[in-house]
């Protein structure tokens, strides 16, 4: 590990990113439920209230539609708000604001208004939070024209996508995975910076492409390790940007390996995997040695018990098996 890289938890990486952008731009402020006095529902913003004060770190009441809309209004009026929706599970309460205002105002004003807001949400499965608190709604946001949707599957992105998102003149939705908060990872330091327009290959391989995002990245890398012992070299593509999709990177890896398995926790029907599969169908049909396989969430509200929760979303074993099948 060179001195340019450091090991850091996903939570600390997110916090450092917040500190960076709050220092870099005085128009930036963080607002959301319990981001201040409580220290953040998941301790991501812990300490920031003391460091930046209540004007920059604003606790809001339970009014998702109200404060997300207020963030949009502040953005219209020249600020650079970072609005935290505690978890994606509450985002439907603000969905009208996100879709009909944030994603639409630039268009219906004929380009006169921009909405440079960043909306962050904790999300994901794996903590036994049951049906109302375990949603994977990446597909809902990825369907909305006017939004840029980012899925933070690595520590590097936890550290660097926020500063990049703050440069956008349009609304950016950032999905952070609470099950990764305590995990440690290595990120380039100082140099920093990532784009928010391209997918990234997290592991190179020639035999099959594992296309995924979010917590699927770690699962696919683990599956790739298992497969390596069987002599199968899987390439792992982290989509990162769920809208607009980096189609070129998807097609490149498929044309390279001729086989693809798409992995996500979201319900399989109308999942991101459906779009990835359809685009491969349209642009790389003749390059496929086998049909694209999708692994997604089982179409059931998330059950509370650990064993049922595990069975409801793709796991490493299942990914390995799927790869074996497409290789036959």
């Amino acid at each position: 590990m060179n001195d340019q890289a450091l090991t850091i938890s996903y939570r600390k990486a997110l916090r450092q990113a917040l500190r960076d952008v709050l220092h870099a731009d005085e128009r930036a402020f963080l607002m959301g439920e319990d981001v201040g006095r409580y220290g953040g529902a998941f301790a991501v913003s812990k300490g920031l209230l003391d460091e930046f004060g209540p004007e920059r770190i604003m606790d809001t009441p339970l009014s998702e539609s109200g404060f997300v809309g207020a963030g949009i209004g502040a953005a219209i009026a020249g600020m650079r708000p970072i609005v935290e929706i505690m978890t994606v599970n509450f985002s439907l309460l603000a969905m009208d604001q996100i879709v009909n205002n944030a994603a639409t105002l630039r268009h219906m004003s004929g380009g006169q208004i921009g909405v440079p807001i960043v909306i962050r949400m904790g999300c994901g499965v794996g903590r036994q939070l049951a049906a109302q608190h375990s949603h994977s709604w990446e597909p809902l946001f990825a369907h909305i024209a006017g939004l840029t949707v980012l899925s933070v599957g690595t520590h590097e992105d936890a550290r660097w996508v926020l500063p990049a998102a703050m440069q956008s003149e349009d609304p950016v939705v950032i999905l952070e995975y609470t099950s990764l908060l305590n995990t440690e990872g290595t990120v380039e330091n100082g140099v920093g910076g990532v784009d928010i327009s391209t997918a990234r290959i997290r592991r190179r391989g020639n035999d099959v492409s594992l296309i995924t995002y979010g917590t699927g990245v770690m699962k696919c890398l683990a599956a790739a390790d298992v497969l390596a012992h069987e002599g199968v070299e899987a390439e792992v593509l982290d989509l990162r940007v769920l809208r607009p999709l980096d189609q070129q990177s998807i097609l490149s890896t498929v044309m390279h390996t001729h086989r693809a398995v798409v992995v996500e926790d979201a319900w399989r029907t109308l999942g991101v995997g459906a779009e990835v599969s359809a685009r491969i169908m349209e642009h790389a049909f003749r390059d496929l040695a086998a049909p694209v396989v999708r692994l997604g969430g089982v179409e059931v509200p998330m059950p509370y018990p650990r064993h049922l929760e595990d069975a409801a979303v793709p796991q490493v074993d299942g990914i390995v098996d799927a790869v074996r099948r497409v290789l036959q």
């Binding site: 009014s63 809309g69 207020a70 009208d96 604001q97 219906m108 006169q112 349009d170």
Partner: protein, 328 residues
């Protein structure tokens, strides 16, 4: 009640002109709708002119205005050219929203007019956020937000007033209570029909205003300026008024009687103000003739301008979805 002494003839003539041109503009809009030149939904402001004229009279150019789909009157009183509004409704690039928005989405950032929102009550949170930006920058602008009695039943109304009071931001909430939300009378929208108490219950100073009396509106704005601009606090004005015409062009008006409409027409805000001004000697018959002539000419010219407009090329269909130069 305003003392005649504090209003000079020029102001009186200006205000009468303002109300008359709104009335005539709406008549022309209805004509152009029947002629098929204006499409989609069209909501006319006729009968409520005293509110737009009186409120705008109390605002400054640097203030922000945001409104609903029934915003022609607000846009005109905010000095957006009738030609630009008519052109917008004709869907031409000469329109104030480049033709992308139509009647429900009039925007003019030069005049701090932020639209034109067609999701009932969804612009109230935006107004709070714009005011938050104003406060954070230490400015003393008023953010004026128009909406209806029906909108006050949406959760966004309660959330927005609470946030505005909690954050102490300069929003002027102007509820145009025309007694109906489409076909739903006030008493069917609200169990407690006194909307002022809903404002005070959220900690926002609130008052009733006779929306058919221009002088009462002007008077209320004096107080509103003291509260919102000077003290920087939110305020709610419930302006009681009536819509003389149907809700939109798809309304058989089954829900109210001709007699009721007739009674309210007896209280025509334009006639009432003209009579008062003549009484006070602020206005002569010939002044009125001049004003009518000026208005007719202006509206005819607006229609002619719209007819001479140009349609955008379909090749630029995807414009205004993201900022120009966006990765997509």
């Amino acid at each position: 009640m305003v003392d005649r002494l504090i209003m000079d003839g020029e102001t009186a003539r200006h205000l009468l002109w303002q109300m008359r041109r709104i009335r005539s503009f709406e008549a022309a809009s209805a004509e152009q709708y029947s002629a098929g030149s204006i499409r989609g939904f069209l909501h006319l402001y006729s009968g409520e002119e005293a509110i737009a004229a009186g409120v705008m009279h109390g605002l400054q150019e640097s203030d922000f205005v945001i409104s609903t789909y029934r915003e022609h009157g607000h846009a005109l009183a905010r000095s957006i050219a009738p030609s630009a509004i008519m052109a917008e409704m004709f869907g031409t690039v000469e329109g104030c929203s480049k033709g992308r928005g139509g009647s429900m989405h009039l925007f003019d950032v030069q005049r701090n007019f932020y639209g034109g929102n067609a999701i009932v009550a969804s612009h109230l949170p935006l107004a709070v956020g714009m005011a938050l930006a104003v406060r954070k920058r230490g400015e003393h602008h008023v953010v004026c937000c128009f909406f209806g009695d029906g909108a006050a039943a949406e959760g966004e109304f309660a959330e927005s007033l609470n946030l505005a009071a909690l954050w102490n931001v300069p929003v002027l909430f102007v509820c145009e209570n025309n007694l109906y939300a489409m076909g739903t009378a006030l008493k069917y929208s609200h169990a407690a029909t006194d909307l002022v108490t809903k404002g005070t219950a959220q900690g926002v100073e609130s008052m009733n205003v006779d929306g058919m009396d221009l002088l009462a509106v002007i008077d209320a704005m004096r107080h509103a300026n003291a509260v919102v601009r000077t003290a920087g606090k939110p305020m709610l004005l419930v302006c009681n008024t009536y819509r003389f015409r149907a809700h939109s062009m798809f309304d058989a008006e089954l829900y109210r009687t001709k007699e009721e409409v007739e009674q309210w027409r007896q209280r025509d805000p334009i006639e009432a103000f003209a009579a008062w001004a003549m009484n006070c000697g602020l206005l002569t018959e010939s002044n009125i003739d001049e004003i009518n002539a000026r208005v007719d000419a202006e509206i005819d010219q607006a229609v002619a301008f719209a007819k001479g407009g140009h349609l955008e090329s379909v090749t630029t269909l995807e414009r205004y979805t993201y900022a120009e130069g966006h990765h997509e």
